[in-house]
């Protein structure tokens, strides 16, 4: 059967490249491996030539696959499932790449692409170690290639091809509009499909961060394979000089992964309404933990280069960092976090395959480390795990994986510890040495990471041990209360350790140099503690004390490292990378402490709109939150420090956003500003809207607001009638939510709303009392001009959705009046708003920039060192 309008060529091409990529990546893996193992230089060279050729083809394949998908997405070829799922006719062009990596296949491709880029950089720059390092990278490429295959082997589907057609996936079977009278798929179904459009990109993802955050984060993830591959190289070649060549790569990984994570934090802060930049969400933790371990590995690597200690820890940390990246891939892709994360990830049906590959990678270092007999054992373990993954029901695989991971850690730890080929120094290190404290710092960092990943793995542990444990009642605090101590230790260590020399430091010199920075830091942090009004006592006095100590640690880290550039390095900025990175780290810590402990909710409910059950006073006492404030269109509302007015809104068709215009006026100094939070209409198949905050930025704080709900008055539905009620002074009449009393009748009362000069007014002084005891005044009136024309001046009680009209005077003698009462579901447009104050948020962003800048400087420093000195294995002292 042929269908008109189908574009099958890009899919066929893409599929061809996917299969080719599988083959050539395997060829590349084998040839790099052979090149590394070959003894004769000529043989080494010829294998290398073949390997490079295969890797070049592999790179071409990956780029071509991406090109094919891009072409399909950009042209809206909805006959392809990938295009239909991830794009839409109204899609803005800048989001086409975002559609590419919204899906799992696309994000694997992105990962694969970065492997290629990193691979070529290594082939070009790291001559000595490229064969073993590229062996690992090519093997990873092979694994990813199988993920994109979508071919059946013995009844088992290997991978998901991004080039499948909708009509082959059965998705069109139940769509009558695409079928002709006889029930067959219409010949021109593509055209019909085009008219109805694709599903589009998730509304929350239609954001410029979505175009930049995933590529950087994936570069960070991809780069963790390089130190892992170097560690493999060292283990397989039983030679450890790779630690020098690996340093710039670990630094690069730290910089990229750090940037990627913090871009996610910035995105969360700026455009998602998680209420901040960090929430200890499992998905955030899963990318933070590999970074922490990589930082630990980087530091032990430095220790080894300078003192000969900590080589074994370096192996373990580098291997673990990459494995934790794989573990987080599993966590986020398997859907196991469904009940603990706000991110809507699901399992996509290739868990088993993913797990099988993860097992191979996890056990690879152990395999390399084993002797012949051990290799067989490890191979059997890998085979058993893979077999069990496919044989056992899918619900058991997470526990299998947990056991596999823990099993590997124990096995590899023992192997590395026993390995005679890895030199270790058995002499005691000096307490006044940099390596001692740097090792302690790295270990604390690592243990902090272990605690975070253990807490995050709760759903996995539940599955493994058939438990029903849920997160602590205050999940964020369960992380904060532990990590604040890690921050204190690490903060102080980054300060002190800079002033220690490797191997041995004369005590007098150390104390003399560190005295001034210590005193400055003490004074500065005391000033912050005393004058900074940091009084976050919601979690008890102990935590408050910890916050103040941590502020000292952060300030100490900033001051001591900044001072070190002059005291220790005599102002040589070229070598100041590490010190600058540590200053940035201290700034990040300080910013986190201050911005979180001084975060304020500005929209505490202070309007006449009352909570149903509590009065505001008791709210404050019981701590019942009332974080949202209701704004009625055009009415200035008192919000503590500010008067806020919701003046208007508009809908922008191009970006499908509804903007609200909110005027803020500071009650004290009269300063005014306007902010424009918006809501974005969701893509098809998902009704509703997603909110998008807006902020007013100051140098030292952000006022951050987002619309939490809104009701539009639909005038067409306003069919409510005025219900007449005859009243005399003292009479009451009821309405659905309470009653009203006519207190008195005034003639020519001053300030009657809407009255013009020269008019005589008769106004009714009504008091509306709602069921919950709130009282609202209302003064509907009639205005008479020259005894001839009469106008009605109705009054409204917005909060009660009431319109009151003075209809007429029934009996002037007894003072009987007719009041018209109209109740309306939504008498005006209204919105509810949440406003937060984040102090010193800029310090966080600046701190991150400084940290990344410092790391990049360090890379430069290390690369220069590599260039100036020939790469020779440096014999560690006193082996």
């Amino acid at each position: 059967m042929n269908y008109t309008g189908e574009h099958l060529l890009p899919g066929q091409l893409g599929h061809f490249f996917a299969v080719l990529s599988l083959v050539v990546s395997l060829v590349a893996t084998i040839s790099f491996y052979k090149s590394n193992k070959a003894v004769l230089p000529g043989e080494k060279e010829s294998w290398m030539r073949l390997a490079k050729g295969a890797f070049l083809l592999e790179t071409i394949c990956v780029v071509s696959i991406i090109g094919c998908i891009y072409y399909i997405l950009a042209n809206h070829y909805y006959e392809y499932k990938y295009a239909w799922e991830h794009s839409d006719n109204t899609m803005q062009t800048q989001y086409i790449f975002s559609c590419l990596w919204e899906g799992q296949e696309g994000s694997f491709l992105l990962w694969s692409f970065w492997h290629c880029v990193l691979g070529w950089l290594i082939i070009w720059r790291v001559k000595e170690w490229r064969a073993p390092v590229l062996t690992v990278i090519s093997f990873a490429q092979f694994c990813i290639a199988t993920m994109l295959l979508g071919i059946f082997f013995f009844g088992f589907k290997v991978g998901h091809s991004p080039f499948v057609l909708l009509r082959n996936e059965g998705i069109l079977d139940n769509a009558p509009f695409l079928h002709d009278a006889s029930g067959n798929l219409s010949k021109n179904y593509v055209e019909l499909l085009y008219r109805s459009g694709g599903s589009g990109l998730n509304a929350l993802l239609q954001n410029y961060w979505m175009t930049i955050h995933p590529p950087v984060l994936f570069l960070g993830f991809a780069s963790t394979i390089v130190p892992f591959a170097f560690a493999y190289a060292g283990l397989t070649n039983k030679e450890h000089s790779w630690t020098k060549a690996a340093l710039p790569w670990s630094l690069f990984s730290v910089a990229m992964l750090g940037t990627g994570i913090m871009m996610g934090a910035a995105w969360a802060y700026e455009s998602l309404t998680f209420g901040g930049y960090w929430a200890w969400d499992p998905v955030e933790n899963a990318s933070l933990v590999p970074w922490l371990v990589m930082v630990a590995g980087l530091h032990t690597n430095l220790i080894y280069r300078h003192s000969g200690y900590s080589l074994k820890s370096t192996y373990i940390f580098y291997v673990l960092s990459f494995i934790l990246v794989l573990y987080s891939t599993f966590l986020t892709r398997s859907g196991i976090l469904g009940d603990t994360s706000v991110h809507a990830f699901t399992g996509e049906g290739m868990n088993q395959q993913l797990l099988a590959f993860l097992s191979v990678f996890v056990w690879l270092p152990s395999f390399v480390e084993s002797n012949k007999k051990g290799k067989i054992t490890v191979a059997i373990i890998i085979a058993a795990i893979i077999l069990l993954t496919f044989l056992l029901p899918e619900t058991i695989t997470p526990s299998l994986w947990l056991f596999s991971l823990v099993g590997f850690l124990v096995a590899f730890g023992i192997q590395v510890n026993r390995d005679k080929n890895i030199p270790a120094i058995h002499r005691e290190e000096d307490i006044y040495s940099r390596e001692f404290w740097m090792f302690i710092g790295a270990l604390v960092f690592f243990l902090g990471a272990v605690i975070i990943i253990s807490q995050t793995s709760l759903p996995v542990i539940n599955k493994a041990f058939n438990q029903k444990m849920a997160e602590a009642s205050d999940a964020e605090f369960s992380y904060n209360k532990i990590q604040i101590f890690i921050a204190i230790i690490v903060g102080i260590l980054t300060a002190v350790t800079q002033y220690l020399k490797y191997k041995q430091t004369p005590r007098a010199v150390f104390y003399k140099k560190i005295a001034v920075p210590t005193i400055i830091a003490l004074v500065a942090s005391l000033a912050i503690s005393i004058f900074g009004n940091i009084d976050y006592d919601k979690k008890g006095i102990g935590f408050l004390v910890a916050i103040h100590i941590a502020i000292f640690a952060a300030v100490y880290s900033i001051v001591a490292n900044a001072a070190y550039i002059w005291i220790g390095l005599k102002g040589k900025m070229k070598n100041a990378g590490a010190a600058i990175a540590h200053v940035g780290f201290g700034m990040v810590l300080l910013a986190i402490l201050i911005s979180s402990s001084k975060k304020e909710i500005l929209s505490w409910n202070t309007t006449g709109v009352s909570p149903l059950q509590n009065t505001e006073e008791s709210n404050k006492i019981t701590g019942t939150p009332a974080e949202n404030i209701t704004l009625f269109k055009g009415i200035a509302t008192d919000m503590g420090k500010y008067m806020v007015t919701y003046s208007k809104d508009s809908f922008d068709v191009t970006d499908r956003k509804k903007y609200f215009v909110l005027h803020f006026k500071d009650k004290q100094n009269g300063e005014t500003f306007t902010i424009y939070p918006d809501v974005l209409r969701n893509t098809k198949g998902q009704e509703g809207f997603s909110p998008n905050p807006d902020s007013k930025h100051y140098l030292n704080r952000d006022i951050f607001a987002y619309v939490t709900s809104w009701i539009e008055n639909n005038h067409a539905e306003d069919t409510a009638q005025f219900r007449p009620a005859a009243m005399q002074v003292g009479d009451t009449t009821f309405y659905s939510n309470g009653l009203m009393i006519l207190k008195k009748v005034d003639v020519n009362k001053p300030d009657v709303k809407g009255a013009r000069p020269g008019e005589t007014t008769i106004s009714l002084d009504l008091e509306v009392i709602s069921k919950n005891g709130r009282r609202y005044p209302a003064t509907p009136a009639i205005a008479i001009l020259n005894d001839s024309t009469m106008r009605s001046l109705p009054d409204t009680v917005v909060a009660q959705s009431l319109v009151l009209n003075f209809n007429k005077i029934l009996d002037p003698k007894v003072g009987k009046m007719e009041v018209g009462v109209k109740e309306n579901g939504a008498i005006t447009d209204l919105l509810t708003l949440k406003v937060l104050l984040f102090p010193y948020i800029n310090l966080l962003w600046i701190g991150i920039l400084v940290m990344v800048l410092g790391t990049l400087l360090s890379i430069r420093q290390r690369v220069v060192k590599l260039r100036t000195k020939p790469v020779v294995a440096r014999k560690p002292v006193n082996v």
Binding site: N174, S196, A344, I440, Q455, N605, L612, F632, G685
Partner: protein, 139 residues
């Protein structure tokens, strides 16, 4: 033994102790029936939203939402939440609720006490995709 090894062992010991003590704070997943028995204790319940019972009137109180939730066993409970109504709540296929049962009402005082699981995942679910393709055609 080297000083660094002793320090490392002490630190690892502390880390394990901290981990174990943090396990004390975990709550438990409960059914509605068992949550009712554990009145006053913070528990986590996975349930479905009864869409007809959602009451939220921002004109009266923007910080008060009530609804009823039903769990897989068919039990039902009233839930009170003291924040804004989460966006897209009605579309949820499943909600994770963390709070306390008090006087027969499940009280949620923590903003993160409601986690909405939306079927935005239909992208990966062929059955949902089949439905979606028809819905789109109607627009």
């Amino acid at each position: 033994m080297k000083k660094s090894h002793i320090a490392a062992l002490i630190l690892i010991g502390i880390a394990i102790a901290v981990l174990i003590s943090s396990m004390v704070n975990v709550t438990a997943y409960e059914t509605i029936a068992s949550a009712k028995q554990k009145s006053g204790k913070t528990v986590t319940v996975i349930a479905k939203l009864d869409k007809a019972t959602v009451q939220y009137n921002p004109a009266v109180n923007p910080n008060y939402l009530t609804f009823e939730a039903i769990d897989t066993l068919g039990d039902r409970m009233k839930v009170a939440y003291y924040y804004e109504k989460p966006y897209d709540m009605e579309k949820s296929e499943r909600i994770v609720l963390k709070g306390k049962m008090e006087n027969g009402v499940f009280q949620i005082h923590d903003q993160k006490g409601i986690l909405i699981k939306c079927p935005s995942k239909y992208k990966d679910d062929p059955e949902a995709a089949k439905k979606a393709i028809n819905q789109q055609a109607m627009k």
